[in-house]
């Protein structure tokens, strides 16, 4: 029989790698049929909510829940005293510290959980919360980590021995009672020596302010203890459902097989939903106590004030170069504000995440990094807000240092970058702070970006604008923001990456059904990234069945293979690789089946798009659909029936996506209003799985970057009150403030990833923040600005202009 369909049509039919396949998730979301945690309703379900501390630092003298228990609809109130006998009044954090589940004698930040009121509905719970009487004794508040390191005030008495000595923390010796750890990378002395003898040296302090991932859906869960069967089911907004199951098992003593954790649809995560929060523990306990399912959903204020802040790094960079601009050394010191408990979500061996990627995209021979973690009276967290662990901080530091150095050298910042880029032929490149960059072609990307935006033309226009401003012809100035970033994602190799001792591999399990469709389950969980769409595409190309015939399922620990979840752009690099590898196992068995059916030797058939063909005789073939059926209806000697595979993928290295961004901005110096005239984003994420989704990720990541750079912050006053606890004060850009972005790409596949993909979800945030900030700072460079801290909201920009005498 002649094959009527061309090879090209067969490829298209798969909707595999490289296809802008429409998303399979969208049907339910556009019709209001998503299933988010707050949509879950169970018979007799109760609602729990917290009494929270109004103080940032206080001793708790008493908690009286009696009046609350009289409130109609209130069934129970949990306090630390109730949790103590179970050993659940404290819980371990992801960072090797421990955290109070409910205030145990004191509170360390405003909004801290003091008691958990369980009621028939939300209104009754709110009434109950009002009725709980808590007596506080205020203590001195520390909101500045530099001061905390000098203060006599002890925040964590539990971490000071009775004789006053300081036991080691999870990451080694501690220098002061409010000190958590010191973490170093690189070589201190050689770096200091180069800096001391360099032609040119600049030092710059910068504060990367505290902010918050603030997904549109807050965190929440439903816990249901089935006492008859001894099974606990926990639905929740978990970016890492398996890790949550293990944590729940470890702290509750319930055996892991008796716990089922389910992440339903998740309304955005961005790092907010990685951690384990007191609400989860209290819901579980409340369900055990009451015998009923218990739901806990944060409101927006709880969310902004208590779960998972990001950043809050006080950084000092020192960089040296030759007169010609060749960088010779970089030193970076960080004082990291971790809040009242160290609950950073980082791999165990990296208490400052991958901050040691701070040499960026540049060939810097000598470098040293030192990070000190500090306790303060702020909320715990320290998550990677749309970035790999602390990579946004690292990239911001280096991309600002480059600009500051350019000013010192009186050089063009684009040129300074170019002469310092790691060259294509240097990859794999071993960086001074330890990482081995897998691949890159920075010069090509940079040149393409600068050419596309007509960089020289923009600089000429800017010079004219400066002249016009000085001549009094305009009150508007123009900034050209540049950034070139290298991300480090896909954590990570089990040899150096684990969380709570769990290796950071990921997994995929595939079952091919007899009629040639399939289901694949993964250890990750989508929060909007479109996994159900893209993982099916990876698989389609690997196994030759159409993506439309492949169901992807994630998030149910009873059915999905173990994995460490979705954050730090690890899904494509790790689970995506597992998917490809599992697909290859399917293909290997399919090859044997095909050879049997075609009555040739295994090696005499080869894979071609959606079939195995006899080498040299393309008219003799068996499609994957036929092979799938044969796997279930033929007794093939030496082969088990069925067609299934599972792969656990331990990545040999991280992946290193990179990109070149340019932002053109006009600023009205009298109002501080910014107008983003153009934003060009070139991303190289290696092999591109679904260009439509990549573009969407870039738009979203850039918008979150715009927010952080231009206004979004979690601010505290001196008493430790959160000043930005609602969406009135916490800046989330609307459609009105956001520009249209131009996206572009180059493709430098990862050499060690099975399909060459690197991950993209977080790159635009990592590269975007410095780009927006650099645009503001560049506009003021001709008027004397060297560095001004973010966020650059209108008021602060106005102040910048004022300070530079531009209002005189």
């Amino acid at each position: 029989m002649k094959d009527e369909v061309t090879r090209e049509e067969r490829v298209d039919n798969l909707k595999g790698l490289g296809c802008s396949r429409k998303r399979v998730e969208d049907a339910r979301f556009t019709q209001g049929k998503g299933n988010y945690v707050d949509d879950i309703k169970l018979d007799g379900m109760l609602f729990g909510d917290f009494v929270r501390s109004p103080y940032a630092h206080a001793r708790i003298k008493s908690v009286n829940s009696e009046p609350a228990l009289k409130v109609p609809g209130v069934l129970a109130v949990l306090t630390a005293d109730d949790l103590r006998p179970l050993g659940l009044h404290w819980m371990p954090t992801l960072a090797g510290d421990k955290q109070m589940v409910l205030a145990d004698g004191k509170v360390l930040f405003q909004g801290q959980e003091v008691a958990f009121v369980v009621a028939e509905d939300r209104y009754a719970a709110a009434d109950g919360i009002e009725a709980v009487e808590v007596e506080y004794e205020e203590l001195p508040v520390l909101v500045n980590p530099h001061e905390a390191l000098k203060s006599d005030v002890v925040l964590r008495e539990d971490l000071v021995a009775e004789d006053g000595s300081l036991p080691d923390g999870a990451h080694g010796p501690r220098k002061h009672h409010n000190h958590i750890f010191t973490w170093e990378a690189g070589d201190r002395e050689p770096t200091e020596e180069v800096l001391a003898n360099a032609d040119v040296v600049v030092e710059q302090e910068m504060y990367y302010h505290r902010t918050h991932p603030c997904p549109l859906e807050t965190c929440g869960c439903v816990a249901s203890m089935d006492k008859v069967n001894g099974k606990l089911t926990l639905w929740g907004t978990f970016q890492a459902p398996h890790a949550i199951r293990t944590v729940v098992s470890l702290i509750s003593g319930i055996e892991e097989h008796n716990i089922r954790v389910v992440s339903p649809d998740i309304g955005g995560g961005f790092g907010n939903k990685v951690g384990a929060y007191p609400g989860y523990v209290c819901s579980v306990v409340a369900s055990i106590v009451t015998g009923k399912p218990v739901k806990w959903i944060e409101d927006r204020m709880d969310n902004l004030m208590t779960t998972a802040f990001a950043r809050d790094y006080h950084m000092t960079g020192k960089i040296s170069a030759t007169k010609e601009g060749k960088i010779t050394a970089l030193k970076c010191n960080v004082v990291a504000d971790h809040g009242g408990f160290d609950a950073c979500a980082d791999p165990t061996k990296f208490p400052a995440g991958f901050m040691n990627i701070c040499t960026g995209s540049y060939d810097i021979p000598t470098a040293f990094l030192e990070v000190d973690g500090v306790y303060t009276n702020k909320a715990p967290g320290g998550v990677s807000y749309r970035c790999s662990f602390r990579v946004t901080e690292a990239v911001y530091l280096i991309e600002r240092m480059i600009e500051v150095l350019a000013i010192e050298l009186n050089m063009d910042a684009a040129e300074l970058r170019r002469i310092n880029f790691i060259k294509k032929e240097q990859f794999p490149y071993k960086a001074a702070l330890g990482w081995e960059y897998d691949s890159g072609d920075y010069h090509t990307a940079w040149d393409k970006a600068l050419k596309t935006v007509d960089y020289a033309g923009l600089r000429a226009e800017q010079a004219q604008r400066v002249a016009d401003f000085k001549a009094g012809k305009t009150r508007s100035i123009m900034g050209i923001g540049l950034s070139f970033f290298t991300e480090i994602v896909g954590a990570g190799p089990v040899k150096n990456c684990d969380i709570l001792g769990l290796g950071m591999f990921d997994s995929c399990e595939i079952r091919i059904h007899p009629t040639g469709s399939a289901i694949a389950r993964l250890g990750t969980i989508s929060q909007g990234q479109g996994h159900a769409t893209t993982f099916a595409q990876i698989l389609a190309s690997e196994i030759g069945l159409p993506a439309d015939s492949i169901t992807i399922e994630e998030g149910d620990t009873d059915t999905a293979p173990y994995g460490l979840g979705t954050y730090g752009s690890r899904s494509t690099p790790v689970a995506g690789a597992a998917t490809a590898m599992a697909g290859r196992k399917i293909r290997a068995k399919a090859q044997m089946i095909a050879a049997y059916l075609l009555e040739v030797h295994d090696n005499d058939v080869e894979f071609d798009v959606d079939r195995f063909v006899v080498k040299g005789a393309p008219e003799k073939f068996k499609t994957m659909k036929e092979i799938a059926f044969a796997a279930y209806n033929q007794a093939i000697p030496g082969l088990e029936p069925g067609l299934e595979a599972v792969s656990y993928y331990d990545p040999p290295n991280m992946t290193y996506p990179f990109g070149a961004y340019v932002c053109v901005m006009d600023i009205d110096v009298d109002t501080g209003v910014t107008d983003i005239r153009r934003f060009y984003a070139l991303d190289d994420c290696g092999t591109r799985i679904n260009p439509m989704i990549i573009e969407g990720q870039v738009h979203g990541g850039l918008t979150e970057a715009l927010a952080v750079a231009l206004g979004q912050e979690i601010a505290y006053d001196k008493q430790g009150n959160v000043k930005t606890g609602t969406l009135m004060d916490f800046f989330l850009p609307t459609a009105w403030e956001v520009p249209n972005y131009e996206t572009d790409f180059t493709v430098t596949p990862s050499p060690h990833h099975p399909i060459g993909a690197k991950g993209v979800g977080e790159s635009p945030h990592v590269g975007g923040v410095p780009c927006f900030s650099n645009a503001v700072q560049d506009a003021f460079r001709p008027f004397g600005n060297k560095h001004t801290n973010m966020p650059h909201d209108h008021w602060r920009i106005w102040q910048m202009a004022s300070k530079l005498g531009m209002h005189d």
Binding site: A27, D38, L216, G268, G528, G700, L727
Partner: protein, 164 residues
């Protein structure tokens, strides 16, 4: 707790009658009492628009209104905008142009956009951005939402022309 009040209203064409405390927010009524979970909660302070519904022809953030205030009104939620066999052009366009990611803002977005296109059948990009500014999205950066609405507008206008 104060005295319950009698409320009668119509949601997606269906009459509903119940007793509610005066403090009961409409979003709560929809989601908890009537099991209409398309409208979501993102803030409960009128900022995010995830809870947007149409009440008597106007876009309303249902976290901003008490159920008793909606007495006698006609409410449309995302569930009443289209169905699997007869999708609204906006529902198709959002999928076609990747106007959503996590989907949490989407019901509110689409519900708001139906009104926007009724008020302004041929909106400019600026009108769309302004008209949708009450609805926050954390995922998409809005570019593809704008595109989706433009595409739906074109589609609806073409259909109208063909019908005339």
């Amino acid at each position: 707790m104060s005295k319950k009040m009698h409320v009668k209203l119509k949601v997606n064409g269906k009459e509903e009658e119940f007793l509610a405390e005066p403090r009961e927010l409409l979003i709560y009524t929809l989601r908890e009492r009537l099991n209409i979970t398309g409208p979501h909660i993102g803030c409960e302070t009128s900022h995010c628009g995830a809870c947007t519904v149409t009440i008597d022809g106007k876009s309303v953030k249902s976290c901003t209104m008490f159920a008793v205030q909606a007495e006698g009104s006609e409410i449309t939620t995302i569930e009443g905008i289209g169905n699997p066999d007869d999708l609204h052009p906006l529902q198709t366009a959002f999928k076609e142009h990747h106007g959503l990611q996590c989907g949490y803002c989407t019901p509110g977005m689409i519900t708001r956009a139906t009104k926007l296109l009724e008020e302004t059948p041929n909106p400019t990009e600026e009108e769309i951005r302004f008209g949708m500014a009450g609805n926050l999205c954390r995922c998409t950066g809005y570019q593809n939402i704008v595109k989706s609405i433009q595409a739906a507008a074109a589609e609806m206008n073409a259909a109208k022309e063909a019908a005339e």
